[in-house]
Amino acid sequence: MQTTIGNIGKPSNAACGRCGHNASREINSDRLLAWILQRASARTSHRFEQIDPAVRIAVLIKQVPNPDALAAVMRVDERACRIELPPGHPLVASPFDEQALEAALRLRDQRGAEVKISAITLGPDSAKAVLKQALALGADDAVHIQDAALSEPDSHTSAHALAAAVRKLGGVDLVLTGRQAADRDAGVVALGVAEILQLPAVTFACAIEAAAGALRVDRVLPDGIETVEVALPALVTVSNELGAVRKPNLRETMRAARKPIALWSAADLALAPAQLVAKAMRTGLFVPRKTAQCEVIEGATPAERGAALARRLHAAGLI
């Protein structure tokens, strides 16, 4: 894997229009880069041109509550550590995962029909809707992982289930998914999948290109773009800077109705009992209570009050 870093273009720091996430937050690029390099050196790789007959991309998509909805319509059940949605609240594909699918479709735009795209989701009956959407956008087939044992998965069980599905598909050269799900924002499932499958992972992609025998990925950094070349197979998480996603057209939507959706259970995926046990348990969920304290800055003159205010702000670490 080769890496070049440069301020090719400063990424937008604007919040994602759909979910409000800031693209550039929480990126520890140096540590991540070192990890990527370490992982990549340990892998046997191959390149796009060497794949025959087709490149197979698996896109992991999660169904989430519509992030465009106002937070006020949701209720937090602190005792049950749950977010309660109002009846009929729309569920949609996580917008970052939509962009992962868009990245896959753009790769196919570059490479043509030799790129096969499989959409995979884990969730209840309703989650099939995100697969149908993916098929309408151009995915070739889809996998729905559904099992009572996976009804409330944590990151650990999700990663194992999704990794097992990718493995069962067989011959997957590239796994794409959103940089995080737009509901919980943990952003760890994708890396868990990479770990389980022993794949190099490249995160926060804003552009992915198959060129010169490798996959070239532009990564979003706080102050620029990092370009990474990675051999396949690999996993890439996609950020919202990828840009606008396409809309399904009627012809493809009708065609999608004839595309297969496989239903796989935990047994189909040969998941071991230990892989179905959540490793992390949510023990608290609450909306922070906002408290306001008013402090009167004393001083005989405006200048004294101003100086006292400056000292107070400095002491508080605000200036």
Binding site: A72, V73, N249, L250, E252, T253, A257
Partner: protein, 414 residues
Amino acid sequence: MPKREIEGDWVMGWPDRKRATLAAGKDAEGRVISGRTPVLDQEGLITPTDNYYIVTQLDLPEPVHPDDWSLSIGGEVERTLTLTLEDLRKLPGRSVRAVTECAGNDEGFFDYERRGAPKPSRRYVPDLDRRASMKAKRATPTHDELAGEMGNTCAMSGGEFTGVPLAAVLERAGLKPDGQWIWLKGFDTGRPDPAVQYRSMGRADVKIDDPGMIHYDKALPLAKALDPDTLLAWAQNGEWMLHVHGAPVRCIVPGWSGNWWVKWLSHIEVTREMPPCYHQTKYFVYGAAPEDPVKPMLTAMGVRCIITFPVDEDGPLERGSHAIRGLAWSGLGGIARVEVSVDGGATWHDAHIEEPRERWLWVRWSHLWHAEQPGSYRIMARATDVAGRVQPQTPWNYQRKHFDGIVPSDIVVV
């Protein structure tokens, strides 16, 4: 030229065309409080209920259970009445199909026609969420915001309303000879938002009368109230009236702009003189300027005709035949003629008016255009109603109400 793709979606589990949806503004709790109809994407004559436009002057009230609702009728009547919904439904009912149109619909086209302002588009409705947020804060739009506004549009829909004629209710109460005005009062309350009037005028340097907290009310002249098509309606498009559209009972006043269609009706009072309803005397009025001492109240709409295809955004078009389509309606009921011009008004051709041609509902019209030569075309359409009125009828007024001008489509043929 590549063929335009039809957008797809999953509807009831089937692959289908993507439905056009209401452009909605929501309050802090995610409830829809305003909406605009995707009129260019509608087929037929009846606007689906969930695409029906929504304009409210005051705050939306909390819903009232239909069994807890009643309507009182008093004032200049022989018998004061209190009627439940079931009482109303025992009276001889009636269904009326009619266009509902906001008085300020297409206000921005006034400035386009009169002042050379940029042409508004029915493809781009205002940011209603932002307006809802401003309303909650009673924020005043800045000069720049007002200058950048393209005006209210797509506040027009066609529906079927089922209820009982207002006249039947008044007959049951017994009108006294001196009763001339039918004062309709809703149970919604609120303090009128001055920003609404600023946007309507396109300026914010005018003092707006603040009546404080009021109920929404309007007073119908007796003759219009007794028109058999003026209804107290509990159903719309074959289903119970939605709360957001005025349930349990909304007044339907065909031909008159939407502000007359009082929602969440709770009281009717018959009066000798026109009562000082705030919106009837201060906002829904004509007048040349805010200072104009004569400000007649709005009543019947003018005569209107819009082109739904092609609009500017539909161009460029390929050479060949294209069906120019649109809708036409009149505040006095009935469209007699629609004419189309493809040369900027130099010559006019009669359009085909499609059946059915109902009195209060809009009609669909079409004209087959053979565009054989590449070039720029200005397509125009104008309607004549059964009263002989040709658009435009309504002169410019300072609140830009009841626009009924001719809006061209500028289309390039390649």
